[in-house]
């Protein structure tokens, strides 16, 4: 088989994904692709996303038709140089389809979330990958570790990646005390201790960025690098409608428009995503936790903690990523970071570029982390 033939496969986004449906091809057969070219829109139970080309070359075959449901790892298309004869492409497709066995849901599920008790509070986390310099991912207000579904596996090739549920969120304990930043930062520090993580790269989205930045300022020696994604803590403005709407939403009808504010493309919000958030919101103690945190950090549509001026005191590598169309925290806040920060504003994304522009985000993080290690 010619080494010049590359498989375009159904990606695996998140732990529970076993298959995806091809909604639309974004490129025609014969199109020239670069690494990262978006080739197809795929719908999964949890979220819709774009499949990116793993290689440069020509899309020689579109094997899956629009509307087809393809298992994770199954063949969507074939990429190769123009020089590869059609017969070889046909043989590649035939060989693949004859030998491909979809992964069993169980064995394919990847790592399962774990829990650890830190100062009497149970914290849920996900760990993927081994060794290297660990990376810890922190979600935003109302989110959980699943917000990193597009990122955990791709980033865990060279290192252990941890995604943590902050107190009051996901599968962690819902008792958040007074809901202050100190509670969140304390939980993060306790979590790092519990896993014997002396030093880690931290990446935080929204409120998680504020938590990560606070630890970087308090304990700079523990933080190898800091990545802030549409982060809180860089300016006063925050969308009051989002914060209050998220807290108050009691059913699917109220919640869906609130979640749509997180994305530039509102179509990314699937029924399953709304249902999952609703299931979380209905757990005993969650309303109280969200109210406490919202009141302590974001009362009256203003951010209580603005660290932008202090961030200069942290001298580790700093990456700042923002979605240009962020409706929750304005992209202008990216400009409040110290000048030495590597700053990228992604045009196609809203408040959650790590989900909406996942491929681009992962490549950016990978480059940044490689550079941070070299430095």
């Amino acid at each position: 088989m010619s080494a010049a033939i590359e498989k375009l496969g159904m990606p695996k986004w998140g732990l529970s994904m076993t298959e995806g449906r091809v909604i639309e091809w974004l490129v025609d057969e014969g199109a020239e692709l670069d690494v990262g070219t978006e080739v197809a829109e795929v719908e999964t139970e949890k979220i819709n996303g774009a499949v990116e080309s793993p290689a440069a070359g020509i899309l020689r075959r579109r094997v899956a038709a629009e509307g087809d449901v393809v298992p994770v790892g199954g063949l969507l298309g074939v990429i190769a140089d123009a020089s590869v004869p059609d017969e070889e492409i046909d043989a590649f497709v035939a060989d693949f389809q004859a030998s491909f066995v979809p992964g069993e849901a169980e064995e394919d599920a990847g790592p399962a979330p774990e829990t650890v008790t830190v100062e009497g509070r149970s914290l849920r986390f996900l760990r993927s990958g081994e060794g290297g310099e660990p990376l810890v991912l922190l979600h935003g207000f109302g989110g959980d570790l699943n917000n990193w579904l597009f990122n955990v596996e791709p980033l865990s090739g060279d290192r252990a990646v941890y995604a943590l549920d902050l107190p009051g969120h996901g599968g962690s304990a819902k008792d958040v005390g007074d809901g202050t930043l100190a509670v969140m930062v304390g939980a993060l520090r306790g979590f790092l201790d519990s896993q014997d993580i002396a030093r880690a790269h931290l990446a935080g989205h929204s409120m998680g960025g504020l938590v990560a930045a606070t630890l970087a300022l308090e304990d700079p020696d523990r933080v190898l690098s800091l990545t802030l994604v549409d982060a809180a803590g860089l300016g006063e403005e925050i969308d009051r409608e989002y914060i209050e709407g998220f807290i108050e939403a009691s059913g699917r009808r109220d919640l869906k428009p609130v979640l749509q504010r997180l994305f530039a493309d509102e179509g990314l919000v699937t029924r399953q995503m709304v249902d999952d958030v609703l299931k979380y919101k209905r757990l005993d103690g969650v309303q109280e936790a969200l109210r406490a945190i919202g009141g302590a950090l974001f009362a009256d549509g203003r951010q209580r903690h603005v660290l932008a001026g202090d961030l200069g005191a942290y001298d580790g590598p700093l990456l700042v990523v923002w979605g240009e169309q962020d409706r929750v925290i304005p992209a202008a806040h990216a400009g409040a970071c110290p000048e030495r920060a590597q700053t990228t504003v992604l045009p196609g994304a809203g408040h959650s570029p790590h989900m909406e522009e996942a491929g681009e985000f992962n490549r950016m993080m990978e480059r940044f982390l490689a550079g941070a290690r070299a430095g």
């Binding site: 849920r124 819902k174 699917r252 299931k279 209905r282 757990l283 005993d284």
Partner: protein
């Protein structure tokens, strides 16, 4: 954190967690512990199918075996609720409703109204319903339309373990009398259920599957048949069904049904209860009145025939709707529209 447990375990867990949280929650019923007043094993039964097993040892003063007198213990539950407890009374088979109907419909259901809102009746009546286990006419009925007919009662019939736990917790915390119906065929169905307590509000239907061609409304076990039919139709006929699980018949989430019909223009209601004056008839009537202009075809009801549930296995299977009869009805509703458009 969620893990997979059965419908039956979800009910047991909801009861245990609410009893843990609130000392006024008590359980009454025949053999809910089992062995009361006799020598031998304590908690021998835990309910006729073992749903309350393990609760008596944990809460010995609050899980009470009663004499075989439904009128006495359902009445006692109504009184206990009116005077400060939160009883969960187990009627065993819903078919036994007849011997305690006064306590439910003329007492518990009326207290709040007749006392000008000064009395509350936070009482739950749990009961098994539904055909399919060869239990004959007196232990197989689907009587939720009778309760739904009575103002002052809330009526719940979950289709899966997640809903069973959240709706039962809501039922216990609710200040009105709630009839909580458990389909016996579903007890062994497994699903993801969070370990933590949570409550699902009443009157919120669950859209199990989104679709644009036909709205399929169902309840309890029929939700599974509707989903199977929808899957088959999507694959074989290209018909895209929206499947709505009502979860509660009182209150009824009319808004979700009407919104869906506005979009699809076609309605099939799958209902295990008797067809006359039943749930399907009620929903078809509501939709016909409120959304007549949106309808592209006559709505269809998929129900058993208007007969007692047969004991003969062959006849019982023929009596019940099946994924096949549901799919046929959907095809008919969808096909009628296509033919008309030609």
């Amino acid at each position: 954190m969620a893990r997979r447990i059965t419908f039956q375990q979800a009910i047991n867990e909801a009861l245990a967690q609410e009893m843990e949280r609130d000392p006024t929650v008590v359980i009454f019923g025949e053999d809910v512990a089992g062995g009361a007043g006799a020598d031998g094993e304590d908690d021998a039964w835990g309910g006729v199918l073992g749903v309350t097993k393990g609760l008596h040892p944990r809460f010995p003063d609050r899980v009470l075996d009663t004499p075989i007198s439904e009128s006495a213990y359902i009445g006692a539950a109504a009184g206990a609720a009116a005077s400060g407890l939160r009883p969960v009374a187990e009627l065993m088979f819903v078919d036994f409703l007849g011997v305690c109907l006064d306590q439910i419909f003329n007492q518990a259901a009326k207290f709040r109204y007749m006392f000008g809102g000064k009395a509350v009746t936070p009482m739950v009546v749990r009961a098994m319903w539904g055909a399919g286990i060869r239990a004959a006419s007196q232990h197989s009925q689907s009587l939720y339309p009778i309760f739904t007919h009575i103002p002052g009662l809330k009526v719940v019939a979950p289709s899966n373990p997640y809903d069973a736990k959240g709706l039962l917790i809501q039922a216990i915390r609710d200040d009105d009398p709630v009839i909580f119906l458990e389909h016996k065929v579903l007890y062994t169905v497994e699903g993801d259920v969070p370990e933590e307590p949570y409550a699902i509000p009443f009157g919120e239907a669950d859209v199990r599957r989104e679709g644009s061609d036909v709205t399929v409304v169902a309840l309890g076990r029929m939700v599974h048949f509707a989903e199977q039919a929808a899957e088959e139709l999507a694959k074989e006929d290209g018909i895209d069904c929206e499947v709505i699980d009502l979860r509660t018949t009182s209150p009824l989430d009319e808004e979700t049904i009407l919104e869906s019909v506005e979009n699809t223009g076609r309605l099939v209601v799958v209902d295990e209860s008797n067809p006359r004056c039943g749930l399907a008839a009620d929903i078809v009537a509501r939709v016909s009145q409120e959304a007549f202009g949106d309808l592209k075809a006559a709505p269809r009801m998929v129900t058993p025939p208007h007969t007692p549930v047969p004991f003969s296995p062959v006849l019982e299977d023929a009596y019940l709707p099946s994924p096949q009869t549901v799919a046929d009805a959907i095809r008919e509703v969808a096909g009628a529209a296509t033919a008309g458009a030609r």
